[in-house]
Symmetry: none
Subunit: 354 residues, 2 copies
């Protein structure tokens, strides 16, 4: 197993080889996920449970708020399986959950769940109705004060329909999107997503300030983590943004805020890590998204795929049915800088499927 460099140089990730990581899961619900067919990341009608179940499974290998592991209708298993398998083979030193607006708290003990008094956000086609400035400031405060004994932080997300809110956010902030955004799944229900995004954009005015726009078309995870990133730079905390287009959008938000304030950021302690499935996706373009940033950024993609597996549910990843989530891309990059073997990892993931 290895990783490829999307932008920047290998040095950031090579420096972290063998070092200790804390894994933070930003778990959030946007009611955008209640729009029929908007996302296949979870159980139809119960997508709001996905981040709760992902947190439970990652921490305990048990799904407690439901009987079965969340599976999509086509049977693509949650990427939490990949992240959990990495954790079993070479454990993160620490896992913590950030409750950025969950419907149900994960039923886990000992593992820290950070509360910020944040509620699930509304459907973006009706206006998300987020107090974006407040959420952002909570993120800044958390990033400024966050302490870890470990060498770096992997900041992951579980937000069903989060690629839709990310796409709307990037467009609202004026970034180009010429097919740069993917959904979690192949056969993009593009008409539905497009309709929702267009309707969301109708609710904002080009002249609105950034936070007004974010309040209407974004989600808590994107806004909070933009704050987290800005806060964390004040103390040289090394942070890996664990995800694809959603985490790229976090950086676009950071970029817009800095531009509006004519501020600067030392981005040398931040990187983005994602999967091969995102990096090689023909329906999105993570590199083009990141190239719109005014600051330099290191970005990497794991080279892991399921070529060692014959399990039909896992093969769907290689076929583009699922691509990212629950920090699986960063977990796979972490695996590659911690000596995990591809065969062993494949077997471990398969063992969860019985």
């Amino acid at each position: 197993m290895n990783f490829n460099t999307i932008l920047g140089s290998v040095d950031f990730l090579e420096f972290l080889r063998g070092k200790k990581a804390t894994f933070l899961l930003s778990a959030s619900v946007t009611k955008t996920c209640e729009i029929p067919n908007i996302s296949q990341a979870g159980i139809p009608g119960k997508l709001y449970l996905t981040p709760t179940l992902d947190a439970e499974f990652l921490c305990t290998k048990e799904v407690r708020s439901l009987d079965d592991i969340a599976q999509t209708p086509k049977g693509v298993p949650t990427p939490a399986l990949i992240t959990r398998a990495v954790h079993e083979l070479n454990a993160f030193s620490n896992i913590e959950v950030l409750d950025l607006g969950l419907e149900n708290l994960p039923k886990i003990n000992y593992f820290k769940t950070h509360s910020f008094d944040i509620k699930p956000s509304k459907r973006i086609d009706d206006g998300a109705n987020i107090n974006a400035m407040e959420i952002f400031q909570k993120g800044v405060e958390f990033g400024t004060n966050y302490e870890t004994k470990d060498d770096y932080v992997i900041l992951a997300e579980s937000v069903p329909s989060g690629t839709t809110t990310a796409n709307a956010t990037a467009l609202a902030l004026g970034y180009k999107d010429e097919g740069y955004f993917s959904s979690s799944y192949k056969n993009n229900p593009n008409d539905i997503k497009d309709k929702v995004i267009n309707k969301a954009l109708e609710n904002i005015d080009k002249e609105d300030d950034i936070f007004t726009k974010l309040s209407s078309v974004s989600d808590n995870m994107l806004i909070f983590n933009a704050g987290f990133i800005l806060g964390s730079t004040s103390k040289n905390l090394k942070v890996i943004l664990a995800g694809g287009t959603q985490m790229a959008t976090v950086l676009l938000i950071v970029n817009s805020i800095l531009e509006s304030m004519q501020g600067n950021i030392d981005s040398s302690n931040i990187a983005l890590c994602t999967t091969k499935w995102i990096n090689e996706d023909e329906n999105s373009n993570i590199k083009a998204l990141l190239e719109q940033l005014s600051f330099p950024i290191n970005a990497y993609a794991s080279d892991f795929d399921f070529s060692e597996s014959s399990h039909p549910a896992l093969k769907l990843y290689d076929e583009g049915e699922a691509k990212e989530g629950v920090g699986c891309g960063a977990a796979l990059c972490y695996a590659s800088i911690n000596g995990i073997n591809k065969k062993e990892l494949t077997s471990k993931i398969e063992s969860f499927l019985g």
Copy 2:
């Protein structure tokens, strides 16, 4: 490799996945071990050396106070081999020895050996003659003041004939024992053990207070570690009691002391970890022992066995000839939350036997 939950939930042990452990070996001699055929855990006539040799082997892979690794007459090798093998594959950050009444100090440098000015205790059939209150207070003090840079402590024991003193202790304190206690070895020399236990119990009066009883029928390890547990809760130190029925008895003592004082304990930072051989033992019942506690306790058993080995000496474990000791059950649980592979571990253990 994995672990099973005997009592409680997986969360405690899952939380410790990938975290750093200090291994404390409570090494103690009760002259009960001099009673012929009372135990097979060591070299006949030299059982008092077992904890010394276990400490040496665990720390250095060398047996210095004797020519050969302690072996039972039937050739069952000490469980220190298992703990040592785990340590070689994914090292404990730190090993320290608690001298709770050794005849011979282990010949080791650099590794800390804590001295408490405790002498080996006497045969329980003659009255152990322990100053139980003093030993207990030394345990409380040590637990209260113990500092570690690591995330948790594995508290193990090596006490030849320690299951006999544990059994007598539990009975003296009024706990049920309907075949709940095992010895280290199969074909329990039950007549000898029973005789010793009955004789020990004759020396106490039902109306005696707890410490008077403990002074007569117990051993230093049990009493000291009951104090350690109570002391450690004052500072939220996470402690794994590494053992089977002996460590369960430590908890029973804690329970009795709390009841006599009408005190409470926050037991959420304590767990017991043992082996599959104990958990599935038909001649003992660790779960029933622990269910007599008035406070909740997390308890786990490794699923490791020697099914991957064809070495006859190791196969004796699977046949019930040996089951626990030198914290091997907790070491195996530690292995399972640190990505150690069963085949690799089996080979490592086999390598010690030549």
